[in-house]
């Protein structure tokens, strides 16, 4: 199997006046197509920054990110946006639905950006798949947190992404809802054969993936296959 994501010697430093702060230092790893990977670590360990760099939301200070064979390092923001639209799906901790769009319209946006045809049918199917068909014309403020995250997951899968980045997808939800969301995420991931990169500090959730990268102080503390073995 080929690598869908290759990260080499990635470093991210923020400068403020004469001071600089390195939040990621010399990170390297790769992930094969269809795999599930977790990035874990305590708050401030740099996991969200790493996710942002891998997904092309930000630029690294040094090192490289190759996503689906495309080097993101020298792309401008619009080129990276194109790559995200073509290959990437996102699920965020705070859902990030467009507040002025209905549930159905939120799901349609990535497909509209790809200028696809017949998107309403597919969006309705996805809505049905996440169990919210009857809420299609509701706005995000009219939905509960769990419902918003289900819409967010449906949106993430709407453009058939090769890789899905999920940032603390259950971080804002209660235990029962979290469990339902986890199932939905992993089920859809399995059905579509998408690669999953998950950022979480929930080890139970992390253990459900094939591999775990543990970050501490901006460095990889442990890239563990043992846990995968533990898992199964």
């Amino acid at each position: 199997m080929s690598n869908i994501l290759e990260v080499s010697n990635l470093t991210k430093t923020y400068s403020s006046g004469t001071k600089s702060l390195t939040v990621l230092s010399d990170i390297s790893f790769s992930i094969q197509s269809g795999d599930k990977l977790s990035i874990v670590g305590s708050s401030g360990s740099g996991k969200t920054t790493l996710l942002g760099l891998c997904a092309g939301l930000d630029r690294a200070t040094s090192g490289s990110v190759i996503l689906n064979g495309i080097s993101l390092d020298n792309l401008n923001e619009d080129e990276r946006a194109y790559v995200r639209n073509q290959h990437v799906g996102f699920v965020f901790q705070n859902f990030q639905l467009l507040p002025t769009l209905t549930a159905l319209e939120n799901i349609m946006v990535p497909m509209e950006l790809r200028r696809e045809k017949g998107i309403k049918k597919r969006a309705l199917e996805l809505l049905d798949r996440v169990g919210l068909a009857e809420r299609h014309d509701h706005y995000p403020t009219q939905l509960s947190g769990g419902e918003q995250q289900r819409i967010s997951i449906a949106r993430a899968f709407s453009n058939n992404p090769q890789i899905l980045f999920a940032d603390e997808p259950t971080g804002n939800l209660d235990e029962e809802t979290s469990e339902k969301i986890e199932h939905l995420l992993f089920d859809l991931n399995r059905e579509s054969g998408t690669t999953l990169v998950l950022v979480t500090h929930d080890l139970d959730l992390a253990r459900k993936t094939d591999r775990i990268i543990r970050l501490k102080g901006g460095m990889v503390q442990q890239a563990s296959d043992e846990m995968v073995a533990e898992n199964g």
């Binding site: 639209n85 990030q96 639905l97 002025t100 200028r115």
Partner: protein, 863 residues
């Protein structure tokens, strides 16, 4: 393996852009309404005023013949004047002999100076003399002793249709009140309002005697003039002979041009009002979009995450703002078209023609295009930030990298705004210099307000009162913390306050100017047309009544024949001669005395030939006549000391030397003269005298007038107090017009205030809710919000007032040659109103946050 990526160069998906613009707008209706309302009011003002000006201009054109009432008006001081070319043509003619005289009201024993117009013929041939009742215009010509009396006089003296007036020896019945007639201006009616009587009774009044100053007018209407006949051309050809015969003329075209010129000032003023209203609208647009886009940045970041390009995101909001601007402009144009129907009523007292109410498509289309253009132009600066919204905001919640620096596009937009303001000012005002100055002032005003905002924030930060209570500290800190509205609110509310307050200050300044001249110890009664043999008797009469003789001045009328041997004709023919024609054409009213009075000051030269060996006068005899002219007049007309001036004093040439120049304070109520002769020259010339005195009360004035008019019917009296009353009425009307027009600016300013405050609420919701969640009481949050709006309102209104005071001082000093003394009461009132409004609107908006549960607020308001 590294694949190359190339983003397909796709065309903008406009359908999707429009769809997203619509989807986004439908949930932001209330906020977008505020944006649109600024455009509506600004464009309404523009369309209303431009339509009105358009219609006024076209009505002046189409009703030009009604302005004159005839095809040609000829006038002279000589009753026997002739213009053979015209007399030879097929025509009808009317005669009007007019002169100033006192009329007497038997009903209340009072008298008043008027302009008596004895009319013979069917004048006016175009338009009509407007009277109340309407039938009076015709019935007063039925051959009986009937008069039409100016309506303001009838009101002032409490006389009605059917009452009598006595003019000279004849008693007339008032047939109707005179509302307007062709060739009657406000200025003329101020001192001597018109009274029409039939010509048949003029001789019976016995007021016309040898030497009386009568103005003889003839109004011609040509019957079937030849096709190639052009009256203007004819007048031009005969101009020399007409001038020689001392005949003045006016044609329809000349009257039209004069009227157009007069109303250019009105149009300039109106255009300026429209410009200010639109500019305030632009401020509204910029501040509304600025805050609106700030809220939308997170939404843009999500779109960017999902793969939308910066261009797509920018176009979504550009489309939204553009479409709303277009809708606002169309609504504004409709509103403006309705408002223009009111303007003719507002201006009716000042208009020479009946203004028709017609759709002015040029104004409507111009207004819509302008509205659309300014919506986009003024929204661009805040909109441009959308391009650079980072998708990382979705993960981090804030834009990383701090404040973005101005890029080239931003500078380009500022350049376009600057050019637009100059260009638009030029279109409205019509002078590039004035437009530049105006734009510069607006720019300086903005700079000044921005500076005040920055300094305030710095001061609060630097000298933060740590010991104050939490509520005060929190509200003060809100002025400089992230997401503060200090700069936007101080700029928008401050500029609105400044414009409106300046308008108010200038209006008060002009009214005060008039009131100063009515000061108690100033002269207030002028008696003129006193014949030489009557001077002593009338002076004695005044002294008997205990009235002071403040001035008793002889007046001689004359014309200037030549300057250093150059006549008017030579000056006209030889373009190398630098003399102005006006001084030859005017009828000079001159006095003679050997000293200066307190309203004069010697600027250069000498009043009498110096004793001894004067170098300058060594070639002149001791009997040379030295005259003195006003200093400014001498400069304007390129005259110099020692110039030889020859005067035609009613047929007798008198040679003089320009010996001195004087500075004159014309604002005093007393007789001032451009030209002053020495004694010993004009004593024997035909002359009349003016007596100036001061009466203590209206009753005393009326009594004295009655006595003089009874014994000396040829003498006229001007009651300055009466003129000032009339002037007050006119100024009241002008003030009303100014206030009405300022209303546009006030409403737009209020909208800017409301939208700025409402939009700023969204910046504070989250923390208000957090404070409530942490147990902050309703009272505490209310106090924090009130205090923040109090600080903002105070800073904005005080900065605006300060700006207005600077502006008014500048205008007073440079434009009105006056001193600006600010009145404390209106300043306090403006401060209280603006600050109060800011607090009230702010609090009305925060009501929802305070009264509802925090979670509900978060769900509904945070998007």
């Amino acid at each position: 393996m590294d694949k190359k990526i190339s983003v397909p160069d796709q065309k903008v998906a406009w359908r999707w852009i429009f769809l997203m613009a619509w989807r986004d707008a439908r949930k932001s209706k209330s906020r977008l309404f505020l944006f649109i309302s600024s455009i509506i009011i600004g464009i309404a003002a523009l369309v209303a005023i431009n339509s009105f000006s358009d219609n006024l201009q076209s009505d002046i054109n189409s009703q030009a013949n009604e302005l004159l009432g005839a095809d040609l008006e000829l006038a002279s001081n000589d009753s026997t004047f002739k213009y053979p070319v015209i007399e030879a043509m097929d025509h009808v003619v009317s005669y009007e002999n007019s002169f100033a005289s006192m009329i007497f009201f038997p009903k209340n024993q009072e008298s008043r100076l008027v302009d008596v117009r004895a009319l013979e013929g069917a004048f006016p041939y175009y338009g009509k003399i407007e009277t109340e009742p309407i039938s009076a215009e015709a019935s007063f010509r039925d051959g009986k002793r009937k008069a039409l009396v100016d309506q303001s006089v009838m009101v002032q003296y409490n006389v009605e249709v059917g009452d009598s007036i006595r003019i000279g020896r004849v008693m007339f019945k008032i047939e109707g009140s005179l509302i307007s007639s062709p060739s009657q201006s406000i200025g003329a009616t101020l001192v001597a309002p018109a009274v029409y009587i039939p010509m048949d009774y003029l001789d019976d009044t016995e007021l016309i005697q040898k030497g009386s100053r009568v103005y003889y007018r003839r109004f011609y209407k040509f019957l079937d003039p030849p096709n190639d006949f052009d009256i203007d051309e004819q007048i031009r050809t005969d101009s020399d002979s007409l001038r020689a015969a001392k005949i003045s003329s006016e044609t329809i075209r000349e009257r039209k041009e004069d009227t157009g010129d007069t109303f250019e000032d009105l149009a300039d003023f109106l255009n300026l009002v429209a410009f200010v209203a639109l500019l305030l609208g632009c401020v509204g647009v910029a501040s509304a979009v600025h805050i609106y886009i700030k809220e939308k940045i997170r939404l843009v970041a999500i779109l960017r995450c999902l793969g939308a390009s910066g261009r797509d995101a920018f176009y979504i909001y550009l489309t939204q703002i553009g479409l709303l601007g277009l809708i606002g402009s169309i609504l504004g144009a409709i509103a403006g078209t309705f408002i223009q129907t009111v303007l003719p009523k507002i201006f009716s007292d000042f208009l020479p023609v009946d203004v028709t109410i017609a759709l002015s498509w040029t104004s409507i289309l111009g207004g819509i295009l302008t509205g659309f253009f300014v919506s986009i132009l003024f929204a661009l600066s805040p909109l441009i930030s959308v391009r650079r919204a980072s998708p990382l905001i979705t993960l981090r919640g804030i834009q990383e990298g701090g404040k973005l620096k101005l890029d080239r596009v931003q500078w380009l937009i500022y350049g376009c705004i600057f050019l637009f303001v100059i260009g638009f000012a030029f279109i409205q005002i019509g002078s590039l210099g004035d437009s530049l100055v105006f734009t510069l002032f607006i720019g300086l005003a903005f700079g000044f307000l921005a500076l005040i905002a920055k300094i305030s924030m710095w001061l609060v930060k630097r000298f933060f009162p740590d010991s104050w209570s939490y509520v005060w500290r929190q509200s003060l800190a809100n002025l400089h913390r992230p997401n503060n509205q200090t700069l936007v609110l101080i700029s928008s509310i401050g500029l609105g306050t400044a414009l409106i307050t300046t308008l108010y200050f200038i209006q008060t300044l002009l009214i005060n100017e008039v009131e100063i001249t009515t000061n108690n110890d100033r002269p207030n009664l002028m008696i003129f047309d006193i014949q030489s043999h009557q001077v002593n008797e009338i002076n004695d009469l005044a002294l008997e009544r205990g009235l002071p003789i403040l001035q008793s001045v002889p007046i001689v009328t004359m014309r200037l024949s030549s300057v250093n041997g150059i006549t008017y004709k030579q000056a006209l023919e030889d373009t190398s001669i630098n003399l102005r024609g006006g001084m030859f054409r005017r009828e000079w009213r001159v006095t003679y005395r050997d000293s200066l009075i307190d309203s004069e000051e010697l600027a250069s030269g000498t009043l009498t030939i110096p004793e001894g060996n004067s170098e300058e006068y060594k070639d002149y005899s001791k009997d040379a006549v030295l005259v003195s002219l006003e200093d400014d007049y001498v400069k304007r007309n390129n005259l110099e000391l020692m110039d030889t001036l020859v005067w035609d004093v009613q047929g007798v040439p008198i040679t003089t030397i320009l010996g001195s120049t004087r500075e004159i304070d014309w604002q005093r109520v007393q007789t001032n003269f451009l030209a002053l002769f020495p004694t010993g020259v004009l004593e024997q010339a035909p002359q009349f005298h003016v007596l100036i005195t001061r009466v203590k009360s209206t009753e005393e004035g009326a009594l004295f007038q009655r006595e003089i008019v009874k014994d000396y019917p040829n003498v006229s009296v001007i009651d300055v107090g009466l003129i000032l009353n009339t002037l007050d009425d006119i100024l009241d009307k002008i003030a009303f017009v100014i206030r009405f027009m300022a209303l546009f600016s006030i409403i737009t300013g209020l909208l800017v205030l409301i939208s700025s405050v409402i939009l700023s609420k969204f910046q504070r919701i989250k923390e208000s809710v957090l404070l409530r969640t942490m147990g902050g009481s309703r009272q505490q949050i209310l106090s924090i919000n009130s205090l923040e709006y109090f600080f903002l309102g105070s800073l904005a209104s005080l900065s605006g007032i300060l700006l207005a005071m600077l502006g008014s001082w500048g205008l007073a000093y440079y434009s009105f040659d006056s001193t600006f003394v600010p009145n404390i009461l209106p300043i306090v009132a403006v401060y209280l109103i603006i600050t109060g409004l800011t607090i009230v609107i702010g609090l009305l908006n925060s009501r929802g946050i305070i009264s509802k549960p925090p979670l509900e607020v978060l769900r509904n308001e945070i998007q």
